[in-house]
Amino acid sequence: MSEKNRATPLLDELEKGPWPSFVKEIKKESERPMVRDLLGLLERSYEEHIGHWKHGGLVGVMGYGGGVIGRYSDLPEEFPEIAEFHTYRVNQPSAWFYTSDALRTLCDIWDRHGSGLTNMHGSTGDIIFLGSKTEALEPCFADLTEAGFDLGGSGSDVRTPSCCVGPARCEWACYDTLEACYDITQTYQDELHRPAFPYKYKFKFAGCPNDCVASIARSDMSVIGTWKDNIQIDQEQVREYAAGGTDIEAEICEMCPTGCITWNGEQLVIDNSECVKCMHCINVMPRALKPGKERGATILIGAKAPIIGGALLSSVFVPFLEMEPPYEDLKELAEAIWDFWGEYGKNRERVGEFIQRVGLGNFLEEIGLDPVPEMVAHPRTNPYIFFDEELEEDEDE
């Protein structure tokens, strides 16, 4: 059946309309037998309202416990070309910078070994190669490593870290996100390729609280740039914004979440002790305002973004950390967390859920971090708080 294009009336519907269409893109490659069977199988799923893929346990190449998502079709006789249709996660460069030559190299490798279909990029950040037969895995991996690429993470391991564009193109970056992402990726190669955790562990690096990689919503360890001192103000530029029609009172002062900005028509004054680094004022007047000079990052722990329910945002663990190579404090914290969660976490329990289960107090004690007010995510809702332990400790001293 894979000799000619079959009719796909339901998929064709997805080509209509002004928006981009994955069906249109896939059809461009429909001279390939794998792609024709893929379209056929997908049409079948739309007809029957059920998926036809199963996992099958396969996870990687020799020595690796992640990087390949094994996929098999449950209709191998009808769609033989895609009976095996595995996905590769290939570790992307920091902030997704490529030379056109690197892109051609990747595409050539994938033309030789797989369906030719890619997803640039997957949600975690990797380069995604869609559709490989089992026999092609090792040769494709050999070509990738030859070209300087490696597989990313999957399963219960450190997932491929990712970062925002940071100082490469963005003046708000409070630390070098690309460098930090690269360093952590290299340091934790073992944890990335050899799954040893209860579940996945994601690092994401954002240069400032705008958090362009959405680290707070989906990473177990969010590293978000921030500053300790005062927002830098160019008063001349503020006056220019005002002259240019920006209503400073309404658009800046009244929208500051902590109400810590005043404007008298001449001078903008910020009470920095009340600033929560939301970035609003800076985003509205980028020529006039800049993050302070004493820069670093806030480390937040415990987000997860599941498909069905139970989303969690990460919450503050270390309010301010200097972000200079070799990032010893960050690594020490990550390793302390892995040690405790690794030993006591249940299968498929993310670190955020683990903290909810064991309690933040116990968690902090185990990883050796002192509680600080910034860790309080919201006012308490549980009146049962017991201070006995602390009282006893005091008596002992």
């Binding site: 996992h55 346990g57 396969l58 996870v59 219960s156 391991d157 073992d190 209860p198 690794g342 498929r348």
Partner: protein, 82 residues
């Protein structure tokens, strides 16, 4: 008990994976805990177990598999059940 070598721990891990094959899937931490139990926490630690797992996988005696989480199992050709 004297300190076992990486190979000895890897062998013991392999025996455990083989013994539980088809009955219970083991994660890296399950193997680690079992080895600390077996040899004693003064003889083996997490670090040694990590090296032993590496040995186990790199030698091809065991592979990583995914069943809603990452497990260490026998390679498919030794899968007697098929």
């Amino acid at each position: 008990m004297s300190q076992p070598t990486v190979e000895e721990v890897a062998d013991a891990m392999y025996d455990l994976v083989k013994a539980t094959h088809g009955k219970k899937n083991l994660k890296a931490m399950d193997l680690t805990k079992a080895m600390i139990e077996k040899f004693g926490d003064d003889a083996v630690d997490k670090k040694l177990c990590k090296l032993a797992i590496r040995q186990l996988i790199d030698s091809g005696r065991c592979i990583y598999s995914y069943f809603g989480g990452s497990f260490i199992t026998l390679p498919p050709d030794e899968d007697s059940g098929g």
